[in-house]
């Protein structure tokens, strides 16, 4: 058993921490998310230069030989600064599908672009009526000669406005909600028949509704085996959940520290409000929730390579525990900031918003509680 980080991981953390602190300060972020683009491609280029985008890929695939623990280290730093750039959709999700299910040709075609920062991906899995069931798909991929034709509507595709490529889930067989018959495709976003409607999300990111209208893709667009994509989706989304939990830990750490600092500065009844025991104990409970979230994030991350049941149970435990902590810490941080907590001006409200939306990504607390129970 070992809870130490490697020297390389410590270096990555230090480097990213500096980058976020010096180039992702609050005013810069505020301007960036309000701009037309909504993100900072120059930061993405810097991340590529620092090797961050290639970290979790093996050296054989053109990466730097890291893994899930590296992604955890990276995401925690992103969480601290509420970084909006699409690391999870591009590196963790698309990268994950390519790593675990891609052919040599697909890896060759796409991983280089991800590592270099030239290819940006979004993961189009959710549907208006599918909620958190990855198999509940109305989007179809019908065989057409050697290739497929995609039709359907994908919901809230995070980072899609910035993306050059999409990973798309669609039904190639079976009935709605069947485990069998789900397939995964990689598609260039500028393919004929793809229409997007772009918008802002409440937590400062960008997303799209993506419509597929008779989009023809070649046979080489299929990732993994036709109709057997669900197990691959479950593996990759488990990896994404572990990464998002790390991001939430970073955001919770900062939200808690900001709250403690605010309670030191803010005076009422002639004394700092941090001197009141009723607030002290609530801030202790926030701290405890943060620490146990870090523990669950370690558990999920370190169990990603375990057998399927152990992996799913650990990831669901983390999504439940971190989701509950994110709710508690977000709400309490706003409450202790008083009126300032509900203003747009104070940073704390933005941490609260990110921590709120975290819960609904890849299944909320209730969803993962059910999965945890089912796997007992």
């Amino acid at each position: 058993m070992d809870f130490n980080f490697t020297e390389e991981q410590d270096m990555v953390r230090d480097g990213l921490s500096r980058l976020v602190r010096e180039q992702y300060d609050w005013e810069t972020r505020r301007k960036a998310i309000a701009s037309n683009a909504g993100w900072r491609p120059e930061v993405w280029a810097q991340l590529a230069e620092l090797g961050i985008l290639g970290m979790p890929f093996s050296e054989a695939d053109g990466g730097f030989g890291g893994g899930a623990v590296d992604a955890m280290v990276i995401m925690e730093e992103f969480g601290k600064g509420l970084v909006v750039e699409p690391f999870v959709p591009t590196v963790v999700c698309a990268g994950g599908f390519l790593k675990h299910g891609g052919t040599a040709a697909q890896k060759e075609e796409h991983i280089g672009g991800i590592v270099a920062g030239s290819a940006v991906f979004a993961f189009a899995y959710a549907e208006p009526r599918g909620r958190y069931d990855y198999a509940d798909l109305e989007t179809t991929a019908k065989k057409d000669g050697a290739g497929y034709v995609l039709n359907g509507h994908k919901a809230v595709v995070i980072g899609a406005p910035w993306a050059s490529h999409l990973i798309v889930t669609a039904r190639t067989g079976g009935d709605r909600r069947d485990r069998a018959g789900v397939s995964v495709f990689v598609v260039a976003k500028d393919s004929a028949g793809i229409v997007t409607r772009d918008y802002e999300t409440v937590d400062g990111r960008r997303a799209s509704e993506v419509y597929f209208e008779n989009v023809s893709v070649p046979a080489e667009a299929l990732i993994g085996e036709e109709g057997a994509g669900l197990a691959l989706i479950e593996l990759v989304t488990d990896e994404a959940i572990a990464a998002l939990c790390a991001e939430a830990c970073g955001a919770m750490k900062v939200a808690h520290a900001m709250t403690v600092e605010y309670s030191r500065q803010r005076k009422q009844f002639g004394v700092p409000i941090g001197s009141f025991q009723v607030l002290q104990h609530r801030m202790v409970d926030m701290y405890t929730a943060y620490e146990t979230s870090v523990s669950l994030t370690y558990l999920a991350t370190l169990r990603l390579a375990s057998d399927e049941t152990e992996r799913k149970r650990s990831v669901s435990a983390a999504k439940v525990g971190v989701g509950q902590a994110a709710r508690l810490i977000g709400q309490e941080a706003v409450q202790i900031h008083g009126g300032n907590g509900v203003t747009d001006e104070y940073a704390i409200g933005h941490y609260f918003k990110r921590l709120t939306i975290f819960d609904s990504e890849f299944g909320n607390v209730d969803h993962h509680m059910k999965r945890h129970i089912a796997l007992a």
């Binding site: 809870f3 980080f5 104990h281 405890t288 620490e291 146990t292 523990s295 129970i373």
Partner: protein, 402 residues
Amino acid sequence: MNLEFTPEEQAFRDEVRSFIAENYPSHLADFGMREDMEREDFLAWHKILGKKGWSVPAWPVEYGGTGWTPTQRYIWSEENARASTVMPLPFGVSMVGPVIYTFGNAEQKAKHLPGIVSGEVWWCQGYSEPGAGSDLASLKTTAVRDGDHYVINGQKTWTTLAQHADWGFFLCRTDPTAKAQEGISFILVDMKSPGVEVKPIKLLDGGYEVNETWLTDVRVPVENLVGVENKGWTYAKFLLAHERSGIAGVARSKRGVEKLREIAANENLDGAPLIKDFDFAKKVSQLEIDLAALEITELRTLAGEQAGKGPGPESSILKIKGTEIQQRLTELTLEAVGTYGAPYYGSIANDTGPGSGSNEYAVGPAHAQHAAATYFNMRKTSIYGGSNEIQRNIITKMILGL
């Protein structure tokens, strides 16, 4: 970073598992801890471990410690939990022992440590008083110097299992003019001394786990003072930090969750096993998730200790979360047994525990018999060892810096 045990650690697990299987007294098998046991039942495993050299694993090797790594100690506690062993009591092993080897003089070490290691000497803790609970520093028991003796007067309370104790460690005020935390001394008292009187307190579960201890003109030789006179508060705090680490009881709670699942699989609700009921299953899953979080948190703390950090204020988190989980576990177990949670088993001659052969009047399933008593008993955990509110005060000060 990984959660795997090394081959050496796996081998260690095999070694301690077979030692427990071969040496643990069979009449105490799968028995856990009950405060109504006989003195010798409490001490049986302690004495066996004393002979083996495993009774005080965390101590420095020169005083009888095993030199195990924190991970090995963790494996040791897991294996004991797995077998539900009656572990050595903490009063000597985890409390006064570390104070004596850290702050005591050579004579005190020679006189007292071997008895703790062997399990021959039973210790009790004289901290709390009727008027000094969370505000421990307001204690009023006095020790007045008279030649080469202290004369002790006062009343202690919640003295756990003092009815069996040979020795006690007491916090006494030696300088009545000093302010609260100063002027307190840490004194060892032979419980057979004239003037020591132990009166049992009956608790909610019907048992007699704790006592009032009255000290009336008790004459104690000055050589029983540990460390420096009036510096006892320092040693008391040191002891409390040691008491808190290991208080999380992760391994025992994991075993408890397994037992809870077994019970819930055998109890029925609406014609199906209780464990299949979503509302109940959800509570069990929540408990397991919180326990998993606590387990990794404890392992992170142990890793910190392995890297040379002593038990710090993080141990307060372990105390809070560990006791909350222990309490929720006993609460769910009582909930699981349903109607058979109500009979007071102390009124029924059905003792199936050690020393009794009769169960002719037993009512209800065996797994129901201690559910209520254990639930009532475990309410103590968020109160003792520094209440969970005091732990929050400690975190406020030491970690949040407020």
